[in-house]
């Protein structure tokens, strides 16, 4: 991954400039959302403008700006769509077969992502990907329930973690080597 913008941002203070930048970005996002929700009716902006301003304010207070990368996000979308489609096909195939070919199990995946938003994001994504369901979000492990424990899930999870890290502009140790 070559997309990390700034590494190790978490926990650092943000400058007012950065607050302003992410506030503007979020306002645009909320405006877009309002536009879709109201089917682009012109009159609705009388109510919409204050709502967007309030939503932006609330979101900046509740979720301080974090570093992310557009390239990582753009690359993530097709990956996610493809993998989740595959996940649906996989689970449908298992449900439709009379023999019910599943052998569930639990496994612990050691985090390389920093705590906070990246971990929560990954836990949610994992539940939508083929054969995996996040059970417990621990301090240093993610407990994952797998539908078929004979498959190699570690490399799959590592791939997902790489992609998630790319969205948040974080660089991970490339391979875990001998732990």
């Amino acid at each position: 991954m070559t997309v990390h913008t700034v590494v190790g941002r978490q926990g650092l203070e943000f400058t007012p400039r950065e607050y302003l930048r992410s506030g503007c970005l979020r306002a645009v996002l909320f405006a877009l959302m309002w536009w879709t929700l109201t089917d682009g009716v012109m009159d609705s902006w009388l109510v919409g403008t204050p709502v967007i301003l309030f939503a932006t304010l609330a979101s900046v207070v509740l979720l301080p700006p974090f570093s992310w990368s557009l390239l990582g996000l753009v690359r993530f979308v097709p990956f996610f769509l493809w993998r989740s489609l595959y996940g649906g096909v996989d689970v449908a195939r298992r449900a439709l077969q009379p023999r019910l070919p599943i052998s569930p199990g639990l496994l612990d995946y050691r985090w390389r992502l920093p705590p906070g938003l990246p971990q929560v994001f990954m836990a949610n994504i994992v539940s939508l990907l083929p054969g995996t369901l996040s059970v417990e979000l621990g301090a240093n492990c993610l407990q994952v329930h797998v539908l078929d424990e004979r498959k190699d899930f570690l490399s799959e999870l590592e791939k997902v973690e790489q992609r998630v890290a790319a969205i948040f502009g974080i660089s991970l140790p490339l391979s875990r080597g001998g732990e």
Binding site: L32, M33, W35, T36, L37, T38, D39, G40, S84, L85, G87, G88, V89, D90, V91, A92, R94, A95, L96, L100, I102, S103, P104, G105, L106, A123, N124, I125, S127, L128, P130, G131, L133, S134, V135, E136, L137, Q143, H145, L147
Partner: protein, 99 residues
């Protein structure tokens, strides 16, 4: 029937098939965890395909955007709920089904 109509019909029918698979999974799978798998994945893909099929027929860009927004919301809610239920089930000591 125009080609785009045909494609959207195919998407809609494929989506319905995933819904059927999700329901079958919910009925047939042996424990809470495996049922969660079936429910979140199959239903979200099914709804995604239905949304894609309908978005092709949408009159305006905003209409298609709203469909996409609904799908994203269901996706987010589904994933979080799956995680919450799984974590709660684990805490309450519901055992894994093993073959």
């Amino acid at each position: 029937m125009t080609p785009s109509d045909l494609l959207s019909a195919v998407l809609l029918i494929a989506g319905a098939a995933f819904f059927l698979a999700g329901t079958l999974g919910l009925l047939r799978f042996p424990d809470v965890y495996t049922r969660l798998h079936a429910l979140t994945k199959a239903d979200n893909v099914g709804l995604g395909l239905v949304v894609a099929g309908l978005a092709m027929q949408a009159e305006s860009l905003a209409g298609a955007g709203k469909l996409l927004l609904i799908w994203l919301l269901v996706l987010l809610a589904g994933a979080s709920v799956a995680h919450l239920v799984a974590a709660a089930a684990r805490q309450r000591g519901i055992k894994l089904w093993r073959r």
